[in-house]
């Protein structure tokens, strides 16, 4: 052991941080497989409806989800500085934006199912579309539930102020959901249409 080493403090990364990074890596791998399947099956549907006929680019909800990544960062910074008021406001805005995104997805599916008669079993496009977008939407839902729980705890008192570290992990997860949406959006609405 060198002298420098003895003097150095023994420092290791936060275990929560390592754990969340691992979780995100493994989730990315799951999405990769679904994205590969989607790309592989583009244009392989034997019957309609086809993507170019029924898909409309969801500009507004995409903007909302991407913007919610910004608001969650503001919430995180407010929490780290101990500003309870701004934290709650930014967090509520994040929840609202996420909920809007889910609502928009629901509306899109409603239109596809009832108007265009596209379901999971209609054709290969339906199978891959609902699986990939649905997998992402389920991750949005999980994130939204977690954010809402934090919001409720925050509204009932300031218990969250001592848990900035944990909120950071939730924010990371939310960013991950966002990044995945960028990929899903590109694959489904840009390449696949």
């Amino acid at each position: 052991m060198t002298a420098a080493e003895t003097n150095l403090e023994w420092r290791q990364p936060d275990r929560g941080r390592v754990g969340v990074i691992c979780l995100i890596i493994t989730e990315f791998a799951v999405f990769t497989i679904f994205v590969v399947a989607y790309l592989f099956y583009i244009g392989k549907s034997l019957t309609g409806p086809y993507p170019k006929d029924v898909l409309e680019i969801p500009y507004i909800s995409t903007f909302c989800l991407l913007f919610s990544s910004v608001t969650v960062t503001f919430a995180e910074h407010a929490l780290k500085k101990g500003h309870a008021g701004p934290f709650k406001m930014w967090l509520a805005l994040t929840v609202g934006l996420g909920a809007f995104f889910l609502g928009a997805t629901g509306q899109e599916w409603n239109k596809l199912i009832n108007h265009d008669h596209l379901t999971v079993s209609t054709n290969l496009f339906g199978t891959t579309y609902y699986s990939l977008v649905g997998l992402h939407a389920s991750h949005v839902l999980i994130g939204l539930i977690l954010l809402t729980i934090v919001l409720l705890i925050g509204l009932r008192g300031n218990a969250m102020l001592s848990n900035a570290r944990r909120f950071e992990f939730l924010a990371w997860y939310w960013h991950f959901v966002d990044v995945v949406w960028v990929i899903v959006f590109t694959v489904v609405y840009v390449i696949g249409r």
């Binding site: 052991m1 023994w10 290791q12 990364p13 936060d14 275990r15 929560g16 390592v18 754990g19 691992c22 979780l23 890596i25 493994t26 989730e27 791998a29 799951v30 990769t32 497989i33 679904f34 399947a37 592989f40 099956y41 392989k44 549907s45 034997l46 019957t47 999971v120 079993s121 054709n123 290969l124 199978t127 891959t128 699986s131 997998l135």
Partner: protein, 556 residues
């Protein structure tokens, strides 16, 4: 070293049976969870072993009448699925759970509750798989246990060919077991990176810990393709999707790609923990430090890196392009290089060592011989033209049983004989241990050596019987006789565990004169593992402690 005696109430007190059982159920202690994992794995090992015995009984003679074909199909499916997902995976999770915190001087895993969750979700998966024997008929009244083979190729798994619920139980059970594996992999990585004791740098960790960290990293990227494919299969079966439905433009080959994208890294995920055990046991029983430690680490990382890009060597007969074939042949053959480096390093460690042939070492030596042959047949099968001839034959069956039984299971048995004294405070009986080894080795070779020839002589795998006069009678009979020896070996093993637990020799803290941290605490270790962790200055902290005149850290 002076014996360390930690007075600990929970160990001194003798709780009543319900209390004791309840403690095992609610435990979040890494040592208990590790033992639960290993006990579950051994239980499923016996179950799947009995299945294999029935399969061999059916195949012992031509026109065998022991079981009807549909039961035969269920047996080889359940045998394969159980051995991979309910024996190999939990065994490695159990070893990692028990040993990693002890070896790096931590008090527990990074996430104890996640750890417990991982075990119980795995056990639920295992129970679901066997529940299919009762409930597999489903509402349609067809089928029993799954019978689609352990890699469940499409379109065999579609509703049309697999009615009832058996395939759904298979899918769900593997999905759950996979979640458990991922949970435990995340835990191992977080533990290794964040919970090491002072002075235990990543480089000073025992090879066992380094290798299991690499394995956990592989699990993170290799298990998701399987989970994703299982979700797609569920979409197909429950919601009428078309992922693997060729009639609607889907692709059956895509399932094969996804499955083997998991399936081949899985082979390395299973066998690397075996390498990890050998890398701890061989040096201690040769009384020499591991030869070429940096090369060992490098070879492990190279196996992991190349191991994720060889999957389609399982698919040469599907009809891929020549370019794809050449790529996967080359990648597969490349893996032989780091694996060869490892074998040479183990041999060089033994060379001129003061070898003690105790049972753990005996199993490791058996592993070296058998794994070498497994590797050689692996290189043969890696050549696409050779594989076209022998794919789906008994040659392949013999090859992967050489890897998993002759290679992996031998090191796992070695690990049980090596660490049992630490976990229980009792030594396993050496005589029974040696009987276990020799009977298993003889039985293993009687069973699997002839099966190579059965394959070369044209016997396909998964046939439930065969007609006389094809020249397969003798090899099959010998193979089935081998099972008797293997069964006897396992009986000796089980009896050894039971009798040694009851009245085995006291082990003491450090029965093998080991060098890694787990031998610095009492046997069994207290709940908090270490009251005081020795100073870590090298990769063999206990050597430094025992030999202050010639410590490792002067050279590392």
């Amino acid at each position: 070293m002076a014996a360390t005696n930690y007075p600990l109430e929970s160990q001194v007190a003798d709780p009543s049976l319900p209390t004791a059982l309840h403690e095992w159920v609610i435990t979040v202690d890494h040592k208990r969870l590790g033992m639960l994992y290993i006990m579950a794995a051994l239980f499923f090992f016996v179950v799947a072993g009995i299945m294999a015995a029935v399969i061999r009984a059916q195949l012992a003679f031509p026109n065998g009448k022991v079981i009807p074909p549909e039961i035969f199909n269920r047996l080889f499916t359940m045998h394969g699925t159980t051995m991979v997902f309910l024996v190999g995976m939990p065994f490695l999770a159990g070893l990692a759970n028990y040993l990693v915190p002890l070896m790096i001087g931590a008090r527990d895993m990074a996430f104890p509750r996640l750890n417990a969750f991982g075990f119980w979700i795995f056990l639920l998966g295992g129970m679901l798989l066997y529940f299919s024997y009762i409930a597999g008929e489903g509402l349609a009244g067809h089928g029993s246990a799954p019978d689609v083979g352990w890699f469940a190729y499409a379109p065999l798994t579609s509703k049309a060919f697999s009615r009832g619920s058996s395939t759904d139980y298979w899918t769900l059970s593997i999905l759950l077991a996979g979640i458990g594996s991922i949970a435990s992999a995340i835990n191992v990585i977080a533990t290794v990176f964040s919970m090491r004791t002072k002075g235990m740098t990543l480089w000073r960790m025992p090879l066992f810990v380094i290798m299991l960290t690499v394995v956990s990293g592989m699990i993170l990227v290799a298990l998701p393709p399987l989970s994703a494919a299982q979700i797609m299969l569920m979409v197909d079966r429950y919601l009428g999707g078309h992922f693997f439905d060729t009639q609607a433009g889907g692709s059956a080959v895509l399932w094969q790609h996804f499955f083997w994208l998991f399936g081949h890294p899985e082979v390395y995920i299973l066998v690397l923990p075996g390498f990890a055990c050998a890398s701890e046991i061989i040096p201690v029983f040769s009384r020499k430090p591991m030869f070429g430690r940096p090369a060992m680490v490098g070879a492990t990382i190279m196996i992991a890196a190349v191991g994720v890009s060889v999957w389609a060597h399982h698919m040469f007969t599907v009809g891929m392009s020549a370019r794809a074939n050449i790529f996967f042949v080359a990648a597969t053959m490349m893996i032989a290089v780091p694996t060869g480096i490892k074998v040479f390093n183990w041999l060089a460690t033994m060379y001129r060592g003061q070898i003690r042939m105790d049972t753990p070492m005996l199993f490791c030596v058996g592993f070296l011989f058998q794994f070498l042959i497994a590797g050689l047949t692996g290189i043969m099968l890696a050549a696409a033209p050779f594989d076209w001839q022998l794919s789906d034959s008994y040659f392949v069956v013999a090859h992967f049983h050489y890897v998993l039984l002759g290679g992996l299971m031998f090191t796992l048995f070695a690990s049980i004989y090596y660490w049992f004294p630490k976990a229980t405070g009792k030594m396993l009986n050496e005589t029974y241990g040696k009987l276990h080894f020799w009977l298993l080795a003889i039985g293993f070779h009687l069973t699997f050596d002839p099966l190579h020839f059965a394959g070369i002589w044209g016997m396909p795998r998964r046939i439930y019987t065969y007609a006389p006069g094809r020249g397969w009678e003798m090899v099959n009979l010998v193979a089935s006789v081998g099972v008797v020896f293997q069964g006897l070996a396992i009986l000796f093993f089980v009896w050894n565990i039971i009798s040694s637990l009851r009245n085995g020799k006291k082990a003491g803290d450090d029965p093998w004169d080991g060098w890694t941290l787990e031998w610095a605490t009492s046997s069994p270790p207290p709940e908090y593992n270490f009251a005081q962790v020795p100073e870590i200055k090298s990769s063999r902290p206990l050597w430094d402690l025992k030999h202050p005149e010639d410590p490792d850290w002067k050279y590392e």
